[in-house]
Symmetry: C2
Subunit: 571 residues, 2 copies
């Protein structure tokens, strides 16, 4: 007999592949609605799982036709819609690497990540074509082909070439695909950091990592501690995917939703009116949002005219939820659970989350609320998290001693793309160093205390203060410059600059803004929303013993500085 005896590939080593995620929706719910996409013109697109899957197969053929091979990087500059999801799945499942480009980076950083990734093809949205045109001359050396995704047929007039029309190409492809049985350790996705302390770094993830994030997170969600007044969990999740895919896999949600055959609702841009329309029309019952999105919703004057009662589960990420915002939001969504969490570009999705312990189930609401605003508990047993002092010793659980969060686990990136040096630094001693500072309380909950990395979290974006500081200090009238976030109900934090002028210089606070506009925004180094809202001229910027700007000391006197500051632009 010439037959094989052992089949580990179908048993003990059956690979953990993103390809498998489509098995449950196609096996159990092929004719259920999978995706509803409302474009900015108010036009709706609807796909069943079968239809979406067939398009994904067609997409895989299309990638092959474009010459994409295993291991190639495929870039996307796109908002959230079925085409983007088709691209991510097809790219990963043929063995190429999906690279969703953060289109909110500066043009300089966008150019850098595309050239660094050496994306062989870029798929982009009609609405983002102006960016691609701006970048074109700098990236055409690396990127060999461009694919134009639009809700309307035809190709635009542009210098970008060669340019292909997505829907026209797709139509020609077969609707089934013989997916390869990949090694589970094949690279699947590439996400760049926001480059808060320098150039963006590319975090790589394998199929296995994405799979294990997905299954552990779904298990944790399904078996988490529930409170007596929690709403029933719906049997069919209708999930509003408002976090962009290019923000670290939208925290893993697209994979989780496909795995569970949830219905996904997309609206490309986040905008309160279409958000409300979709919640009402599609009976959305679950969403993940950043605090800013919630704030925009509360400011939207016509919010009361919509029936939002179906939306019973809102998870909050990307920054702490200010308590004032939380209580306003709870009037709109009485059953809302806003729980904090923690993750970063290097962790694929969340690794710490504010889940309850079961002995808390009968605690009073005020106490429960305090737990939900803590950063949370590590996702045991998949993720190990420690908070350690400078010698690497665990800090006591005293809710006071501050250390750095270090991590191990299934979905921590193993390496930065083409950067062994930064990889080695981050992974020194066999633990991934996050650069984030935290303390641990008596119940074992980790609480982010201060950001060693000094990031200001404004909306869903991170304002890279080191970049701003470096830029500002280029002005010939500036001696010292630092930036801190000051609390803001809508944005979470907004940037304030503390400036020590060169003696004898006759300048005004607005001059800082003018300088940054010219040297930063106009030249593509920063984007407009990074500009400081407040500028304070000070005699001295507080510093640590080693001469670094002391953000902790600054934050302690934040009100004092704000009182001295002048508001230089509207929020």
């Amino acid at each position: 007999m010439s037959e094989k005896t052992f089949y580990p590939e179908y048993s003990s080593r059956y690979p953990l592949l993103i390809t498998n995620f489509i098995k449950k929706p196609m096996g159990m719910y092929p004719d259920d609605e999978a995706i509803v996409y409302r474009n900015d013109d108010g036009q709706y697109f609807r796909l069943t799982w079968r239809e979406w899957y067939e398009r994904t197969c067609q997409h895989a053929h299309l990638l092959k036709a474009l010459g994409v091979k295993e291991g190639d990087r495929v870039g996307t500059m796109a908002l959230n819609h079925h085409r983007h999801l088709e691209n991510i799945f097809a790219t990963c499942c043929i063995g190429a690497i999906s690279h969703p480009i953060n289109v909110r980076l500066s043009l300089e950083h966008m150019t850098y990540v595309i050239n660094h990734a050496e994306d062989s093809v870029i798929f982009f949205d009609e609405i983002l074509m102006p960016f691609v045109e701006l970048l074109y001359d700098q990236i055409k050396g690396s990127v060999k082909k461009f694919v134009y995704m639009s809700d309307k047929p035809g190709l635009p007039q542009t210098k970008i070439e060669p340019l292909y029309e997505y829907e026209a190409l797709l139509k020609e492809q077969p609707k089934t695909y013989d997916w390869p049985l990949l090694d589970e350790n094949s690279l699947a996705t590439l996400y760049y950091t926001t480059g808060t302390t320098g150039l963006p770094k590319g975090a790589l993830y394998t199929h296995r990592q994405v799979y294990l994030q997905c299954i552990h997170s779904l298990e944790r969600a399904g078996n988490s501690v529930r409170l007596p007044d929690d709403p029933e969990r719906p049997n069919r999740l209708v999930f509003f995917a408002v976090i962009p895919f290019f923000h670290i896999h939208a925290w893993g949600t697209p994979f989780m939703m496909v795995y569970g055959a949830a219905k996904m609702v997309f609206s490309s841009k986040y905008e309160p009116e279409s958000f409300c329309e979709l919640i009402q029309n599609e009976k959305v019952n679950s969403a993940v949002m950043v605090p800013t999105m919630l704030a925009m919703l509360l400011e939207y004057p016509e919010v009361d005219k919509w029936d939002l009662s179906s939306l019973t589960t809102i998870a909050i990420g990307g920054g702490a939820l200010p308590l004032g915002l939380k209580s306003k939001a709870e009037k709109l969504f009485p059953h809302m659970r806003a729980a904090s969490g923690y993750g970063m570009s290097e962790t694929m999705a969340g690794v710490i989350g504010a889940v309850l312990k079961r002995d808390m189930e009968n605690w009073p609401k005020e106490e429960i609320d305090k737990v939900f605003v803590k950063t949370g508990l590590p996702m045991l047993p998949a993720i190990d998290a420690r908070v350690v002092d400078e010698k690497g010793n665990d800090v006591p659980h005293d809710n006071e001693t501050i250390g750095e969060i270090i991590l191990r686990g299934h979905w921590i990136t193993e390496q930065y793309y083409k950067d062994p040096e930064k990889t080695a630094t981050a992974w020194r001693g066999g633990w991934f160093h996050t650069g984030d500072a935290a303390k641990i309380d008596q119940d074992g909950y980790i609480i982010i205390a201060d950001r060693i990395t000094d990031v200001i979290r404004s909306g869903s974006e991170m304002v890279p203060t080191v970049l701003l500081e470096n830029l500002t200090s280029n002005a010939d009238f500036v001696l010292e410059a630092t930036y801190v976030g000051i609390p803001d109900e809508k944005w979470g934090e907004i940037p304030m600059a503390l400036i020590k002028k060169l003696p004898g210089m006759d300048v005004k606070e607005e001059d800082i803004l003018t300088f940054l506009q010219k040297e930063g925004v106009d030249s593509g180094k920063i984007t407009k929303w990074m500009l400081p809202v407040y500028v304070a001229f000070v005699d001295d910027v507080p510093k640590t013993s080693v001469g670094k700007y002391d953000k902790i000391a600054i934050r302690k006197k934040i009100e004092e500085f704000k009182a001295k500051a002048k508001q230089v632009r509207k929020v």
Copy 2:
């Protein structure tokens, strides 16, 4: 710098180890009660997670002290209690192979599996010492050491040697253990089949396989479709582990319960009175049972004196739950969800289960009940199951055509221990052949018809005995019912029913026929030629060690049963 750059072992290849299961209970609930064990004298033993974990560490040191090395097999002849669980975890986590011996096998088969496994040490219960003494001379060549586990101190008079006292040895060991970072493909457990068709075969499982079974099964349980009148899921599971560990990992439940930090309740032997006492005292809310256990409970005359209301979730495995038994049991447990499932020694735990699809959530109860007694849907995406005809083609979804179930997936055994030939036969063509016959209905649910070898072949037709058994057990005077073929010159085989009546019922053999005619033939569920020709009322239906009807034992005594039987219709 001599430091490493990459740490795949703590990131992309962070191993899936049984060792990790202890992280959540020890990280979140170290002082919660973990285990309650009631011995046959009614004495209670209670351990917190910390206490149990410390004993498990001590057990690991003890194994080392006994000379157990990586890859060695460690046998147990034990019922369910903390010591047995300590043994399984410690053995796996030091890199040895846990071999729980099925003590309900024949002495011949027990001897065979111990010598075939070459267990280096055997841990056994006081109550099972007579077996060990009977086997001793045949196994002392392989087994070098014996450890005696008892609730009382001291060693008994016995020829077994060298013999060690478990609790005395344990006390001397340190309470922490530096667990090795094993390869996830290390072998962890060895389970032998019941050998219904020959000698038992040893199915091997790796750490990875156990881990992936656990996480997928917990995810499925947590996110399954719920019905409007389902009871609340308790935040703290109190699980009665009545299925012996030596029955294919008690279907994975010990691992799942440790992972989730559930409280586990043990009573060594299954016996209705202590079962009821523990449910009442410990407020047990979840259990997994075989149909026979339910039947025993229904026969127990004092069942009404206990408060069993906490027990809201009962999963049924090890055989189809006859509808008749189900409706009787529902009177006792109004919130009981008895869902069928399917697994075998070669699949570590369940691979197919009667879960609902979400569009069924508003179906009437009678229709839902019919779904729950189907074998179910494969555990997508972790397990692929097909039903194929003799040429390997999928059978149509017509609820009629019978084929064989074949499998692929994470927790299907890769191989039989030291038996490449049987491995190759089972895995022919890259699919594991179960030898079980089934059909598929229009909704895609698999329905077990029979063991391929148990089907009664009458004329050119196949009589699916499970269907007849389920139907017959609906009769309110029937407690147990099984069918076998008896040789017939004309038809090959003709069906005979073996019936155990409910106590005190005054019925005749012909009443079975009348019942089946009315409920089966007239309603189109079975055809006339499937009706039994002979009916025998018996005091007991022979069962295998796992509580299934033992067709082999029945066939051996077929003439004896036929002599007792009454012919109820002409052939």
